[in-house]
Symmetry: C2
């Protein structure tokens, strides 16, 4: 199965949606620029950071919302879905800005992370006191601003007044992402615990911080917007969406975890083994820990989160994760989640075009290299 | 004029509103607790931190919204205004959590700030790696969560569908607060500049981060909710609200700045001279800088933002600000802003009860000691 859809009709409609989304984003940022300018020209770096970061990205969440809408009978080219896509993408930008602060990441999408961007501005302009503190304060505010903008875009969706379920999905999504992110932070500081506890937490992090957020909620949100007041009656379709998108999202995040350890820097835009230096506790590391001897588990434990890991040490950790069987195990889970997702997708009562679109998105999510 | 209203009717209605707000807040937090519990018990500290911080506070913004509603013809005891008050108070909690990170404040409302709270939890539970990083990551997420919750509460206001202006006010308010906060951060890092530039920035910070947010927008929001679709026709009333609440808010924040330097710790819940240690650039410090000799200006400049200032040095700075005439000057401005606000209030076409309520709130805002 190819990663990119070959059906010209599908390519055209997808391209039209993505173009409308980019245009809406430009207009939105232009409007916000005018508002900020009225406050002070000095506030514009906040916008510029948000705008630069939002320019990247695969728009997976926006596309899932769009095809969720189309699959539930929504018309092609609807502007409300462009607003929904904008809201999802701005939320993602906000989450990335704050995530990178939490993970102390230097880079994002091949460019400096936002706190690093402001840190560099501090140095360039010869500001006084701490560049790092200025960087983190500014990124904190840029993320907050972007969160508000996401909500502004969401509230502008015309269908929302008839679709209270869509609002509930968006709200739940945000709570879950932040709680899941907190569990992730917690996993990095809790000392020595049973491997099963760590594994269970890592699975929750995957589910809430990522799978539901990146796949399930956007798809169901689009569906709920299309169904509007009929969302209750047609709840079978939305339940079917969930049954497809949750395993898809889990597979998507497990793929992300694999890329965080084994990904090629030129494709991921992040240094090799970045997740290891950041000390991310994932299903991959939890499975490794459970499978190796005491000494190797200790080496893994002590290496995770060490920002000064050498290239040699990264290679040794990669080899440990591979030889422990954990990598194969995770690849097997990704395969199983993907199969499960596709099986559920096959059972959904969809028209050919949305079906093909969702199939293509599923393949992209599971087999990506960046 | 007494700080507390003596009219029993006013006292009763105010107390009823505040009681309804507290009850709504309890129910809201209980609902969020159930959602978080479904994700993981481990995520509950986020809620507990938000709940504890939200319990304090004067509810100035909620009360302004309520009386703005009443003054524009809204019925007493309306539940929509309880939702609006909840949204404003949750936004304030979120802003305080992130503000305290930016200002590296240890205390808030007499208790540890949220990042310090999580730092203490890290130490108590014997977590590994950096307590400070765990504290700031957790507070970052608690603030984000609280921002989302604020928006959830806001979106639930039933009158909103008829009052698009109210949504626009809430959106603008958030952008202005974050931009104003960024200007505040910027003011602390920009080296040696003309006193007039610093003064102009400090005035913008007051206006956007505080005056419009704490007074103007809540009042006008309440009015816009009451007027609904008639907000365009009745725009005179809302313009009058602005003419009253903006100077009131400016006076309110100038009072805050004075308290930040001269306030009594047992009343403010913060150490004496806290703003000086934090390096806050205010109208008070800008005016001082402009009025004193070169040597004293340098002393002020070098002292601001030094976290290790001794009690003796705080006293010397207080004396410098006082003897420079800046304190008197700010007190004069507060007086003038207060007079201007009350003059505008007198010109508003209000029923006796809302008029008395807003008058009492204005006196509280301008003459508070905490």
């Amino acid at each position: 199965m190819p990663n990119q859809p070959t059906n010209p009709e599908l390519r055209t409609e997808t391209a039209a949606y993505l173009a409308a989304l980019e245009e809406r984003m430009q207009v939105f940022f232009q409007e916000q620029r005018q508002i900020l300018e009225q406050i002070s020209e000095e506030a514009l770096p906040l916008l510029e950071a948000i705008e630069a970061l939002s320019a990247g990205g695969k728009r997976l969440r926006a596309l899932l919302a769009y095809w969720g809408w189309r699959g539930a009978g929504g018309q092609a080219g609807d502007q409300g879905l462009v607003d929904a896509g904008l809201a999802l993408e701005l939320f993602q930008t906000a989450a990335l800005i704050h995530d990178d602060m939490i993970d102390a990441s230097d880079t994002r999408r091949g460019a400096p992370s936002v706190h690093r961007r402001f840190e560099a501005m501090h140095q360039l302009k010869g500001y006084k006191t701490s560049p790092a503190h200025f960087g983190s304060s500014s990124a904190l505010l840029a993320g907050d601003l972007c969160l508000s903008w996401s909500e502004m875009a969401f509230a502008a969706i015309p269908q929302l007044q008839q679709a209270s379920q869509a609002r509930a999905i968006f709200d739940l999504m945000r709570t879950e992402v932040m709680a899941g992110q907190y569990l992730d932070v917690l996993g990095e500081v809790i000392p020595q615990e049973e491997a099963d506890l760590a594994l269970s937490r890592a699975q929750k992090v995957i589910r809430y911080k990522s799978a539901k957020y990146s796949c399930e909620h956007p798809l169901v949100l689009g569906g709920a917007l299309a169904l509007g007041l009929k969302a209750q009656e047609d709840s079978d379709l939305l339940a079917g969406y969930r049954a497809f998108a949750l395993p898809l999202g889990e597979g998507f995040q497990l793929r992300d975890d694999v890329l965080g350890v084994f990904g090629q820097p030129e494709k991921t835009g992040k240094p090799a083994g970045d997740d290891l230096r950041e000390g991310k506790r994932t299903v991959l590391t939890a499975l490794t820990s459970r499978s190796v001897g005491k000494e190797e588990a200790l080496f893994l434990e002590q290496s995770l989160g060490n920002p000064d890991l050498s290239g040699q040490e990264i290679l040794a950790l990669q080899e440990l994760i591979r030889s422990s069987g954990a990598l194969d195990e995770v690849e097997t889970i990704i395969q199983a989640k993907g199969d499960q997702a596709l099986e559920q997708l096959a059972a959904l009562p969809l028209d050919p075009l949305p079906r093909e679109a969702l199939t293509a998105l599923a393949y992209q999510a599971l087999n990506r290299s960046a």
